[in-house]
């Protein structure tokens, strides 16, 4: 039997090429609007990394993306496509904000309850599509899209009715300091940036998910259901239960992202927006090759793009949407990784042909 080459280096190469293509695509659009891409990227990356405060902001921007990326990747492992991370994140954030605005407790206890609420909200939004998939074989892509818009409208009507802001109808009241993941020591350490406990929580959860996927029976069963559902069933695994569980955990992860976004990075929720972080999470998961560690790095990279684009926009004529454009192009090339794989195969062939030719002559 021929041994397979180790998978990981190939995946990293593919991801790096996708990133490269995204940056090239971004450069083309910068040129097409008459800007210098070198200056653009210089300011983009400086905006994300040039001092300790900006690094803090980059980490804070990346935090929700780590959670949504994990959410999408986790569902992918069970062969499920969670396109509903946006809705799960929104409901998680709404639940956490609702607790944060109504309950008064000492900070650690309050944060703990808010985290539980965020997990519960997101989990519920993942549980429903999971259940529909397990019981009725309803495609999870369509179900999660519907759940996204249900979350959108639930938030749209709940915020103005119960948590209306002081000045604006379209946003919630600001949560108090005790209900925020921001803590003075961290804020000071990063010179007044948005960074908060969310990033520490995210790293913990990355490790936890890595352990679940790679070191537990549950993780093994989830992955088995993803590889071959029928084989897993035949081996006596409760595939339907695992589908529900996988979607519920995916929802919970995105829900935590909502906590990190609305009670960490931000201080309130705006209505009428389906947060982009859920869709970015798909790109994060794909770029990170669905592994928790990969997700962490991919999210940090997207964090740089998102937090640097404002600075770039201030220093050049380039509109900030270039950041999202680059992410979308990366996602497209990650989706069409076949193209990159073919390209790599051709290069490999080229070189191996050359060596065999040499040997022949």
């Amino acid at each position: 039997m021929k041994l397979k080459l180790p998978q990981i280096p190939r995946q990293i190469t593919v991801s790096l090429i996708a990133v490269f293509m995204g940056l090239v695509g971004g450069a083309i659009f910068m040129i097409s609007t008459g800007s210098n891409p070198f200056a653009g990227y210089n300011f983009l990356f400086r905006g994300g990394l040039m001092n300790i405060e900006r690094i803090g902001n980059t980490l804070a921007t990346a935090t929700p993306l780590i959670f949504t990326g994990l959410s999408v990747a986790f569902a992918f492992k069970t062969g499920l496509f969670n396109i509903g991370a946006s809705g799960q994140l929104l409901i998680g954030g709404l639940s956490a904000t609702a607790i944060g605005l109504t309950v008064v407790l000492p900070k650690p206890l309050l944060l703990l309850i808010m985290i539980v609420a965020a997990i519960a909200g997101g989990a519920l939004w993942g549980y429903v599509p999971g259940l529909l998939k397990a019981l009725f074989n309803v495609h999870e892509v369509v179900a999660t899209i519907m759940m996204n818009w249900l979350a959108y409208w639930v938030t749209y009507y709940t915020i103005p009715a119960y948590f209306k802001g002081e000045f604006m109808e379209t946003e919630s009241r600001r949560i108090s300091d005790i209900a925020s993941l921001r803590v003075p020591w961290l804020t000071e350490m990063f010179h007044d940036s948005f960074i908060n406990l969310g990033i520490l929580l995210a790293v913990l959860v990355v490790l936890l998910i890595w352990v679940i996927l790679n070191k537990t029976v549950l993780g093994y069963e989830l992955k088995a259901a993803g590889f071959n559902r029928h084989a897993a069933e035949y081996a006596g695994m409760a595939v339907n239960r695992n589908i529900v569980l996988s979607m519920t955990i995916a929802g919970a992860l995105a829900g935590l992202g909502g906590m990190a976004l609305y009670a960490g990075y931000a201080v309130n929720i705006q209505i009428g927006i389906l947060p982009n972080q859920g869709f970015d999470g798909i790109a994060v998961a794909l770029l990170g090759a669905n592994s928790p560690i990969g997700v962490l790095f991919a999210a940090l990279f997207f964090g740089i793009l998102h937090s640097g684009k404002g600075f770039m926009n201030a220093m050049t004529q380039i509109p900030p949407q270039i950041g999202d454009t680059i992410i979308a192009i990366i996602l497209y090339f990650a989706a069409t990784s076949v193209l990159i794989e073919r390209f790599l195969d051709r290069i490999k062939k080229f070189f191996s042909n050359r060596t065999t030719n040499k040997e022949g002559s």
């Binding site: 659009f29 609007t33 496509f81 396109i83 529909l132 009725f136 074989n137 309803v138 495609h139 892509v141 369509v142 179900a143 899209i145 519907m146 759940m147 996204n148 818009w149 249900l150 959108y152 409208w153 639930v154 749209y156 009507y157 389906l274 982009n276 869709f279 970015d280 798909i282 790109a283 794909l286 004529q317 509109p319 949407q321 270039i322 950041g323 999202d324 454009t325 992410i327 979308a328 192009i329 996602l331 497209y332 990650a334 989706a335 069409t336 990784s337 076949v338 193209l339």
Partner: protein, 315 residues
């Protein structure tokens, strides 16, 4: 009640039409076996292309710039959808991921260029289409008042396209090949049908129709491009499922959704509806679609090969 209906109906139809045409594009696409989650993005492309065209051409062309805008929107949608076609047909990529990439790219890229062009990211058009009342038909009792007053030309254009698409899908050789590609591509292939070509054409149809849908939103009720179509592309997708992938079905489904949304929008000003929570009316299409998915799960009319890449060697 009658007054209320005659008041609401023109708005409901206005809201239905972009949904209908987009959903129809989705129908042709899925019937060929390609899932297109990117309808939302393609609508945004259409909205942007028409806004830009009208913005630029209005000073020289006047009112007819609107029509040029609609054509450009359809062409732009078709072109942009080639990205999805290439990924999902030629490269056998995951169609959902490719569609998501289309959505993200469309939203970001159009705003990028809009900000470059106008500085604000919004493109306001000076003039859209005007409502008018059809002279003789509007005198017909009941339906005259509901259907033929306060109407737009685009409404009739879209209804014509619906009829034409029905004919195309069910009554022509192309339609037969299209449906065969979506139900059983390998059988179609062995009968000499070029499945990949059919699917390319079908995806471009969805792009053109979704682009048109986005443009119709712009020239009828929104009047301004702002980088979003507020989830209508996804609603069109829901209508496609609720209408069970059939032209008449999606006509019913989109009108149902259009009517519900209109009522939700006007409920604040109509006393009788004041105590119906807006949330219920707004959430209604999505809940109904989920229920429809459950109900039809045993007997779904979804094209059998929808979402599956076509690999010639695999039989």
């Amino acid at each position: 009640m009658w007054d209320f209906l005659t008041f609401v109906f023109p708005y409901a139809i206005t809201f239905t039409i972009p949904l209908l045409i987009t959903s129809l594009g989705g129908l042709i696409c899925e019937r060929s076996g390609v899932v297109n989650i990117g309808l939302e993005g393609l609508m945004i492309i259409g909205s942007f292309a028409s806004a830009l065209t009208i913005f630029r051409l209005y000073p020289s062309l006047g009112g007819s710039a609107v029509w040029v805008g609609l054509i450009v929107a359809a062409a732009a949608g078709a072109l942009f959808s080639l990205l999805h076609a290439f990924a999902s047909i030629s490269l056998n990529a995951n169609q959902v991921i490719s569609g998501t990439a289309i959505n993200m790219m469309a939203g970001a890229l159009t705003l990028y260029f809009a900000r470059y062009i106008t500085g604000s990211g919004n493109i306001h058009i000076i003039s859209g289409l005007q409502r008018y009342t059809i002279p003789v038909l509007s005198k017909i009792p009941v339906i005259g008042k509901l259907l033929f007053t306060q109407t737009y030309t685009t409404t009739w254009l879209v209804l014509f396209l619906l009829l034409a698409s029905w004919y195309l899908v069910y009554k022509t050789p192309f339609g037969l090949r299209l449906r065969a590609s979506g139900e059983h591509p390998h059988a179609a292939d062995s009968a000499g049908v070029n499945v990949r070509l059919i699917r390319y054409i079908a995806v471009m149809f969805s792009g053109a129709f979704a682009g048109l849908g986005g443009a119709i939103i712009l020239v009828t009720y929104s009047g301004e491009f702002n980088g979003s179509v507020a989830g209508l592309g996804f609603l069109a997708l829901a209508a496609l499922i609720f209408g069970q992938w059939k032209p008449l079905g999606i006509l019913g489904a989109t009108f149902f959704f259009g009517f519900a949304s209109t009522i939700a929008n006007v409920s604040q000003v109509v006393p009788a509806l004041d105590n119906v929570p807006g949330l219920i009316l707004k959430a209604f299409p999505y809940v109904v679609t989920l229920l429809a998915l459950i109900l039809f799960s045993k007997s779904s009319q979804a094209p059998r090969a929808s979402g599956e890449p076509f690999e010639q060697g695999k039989r």
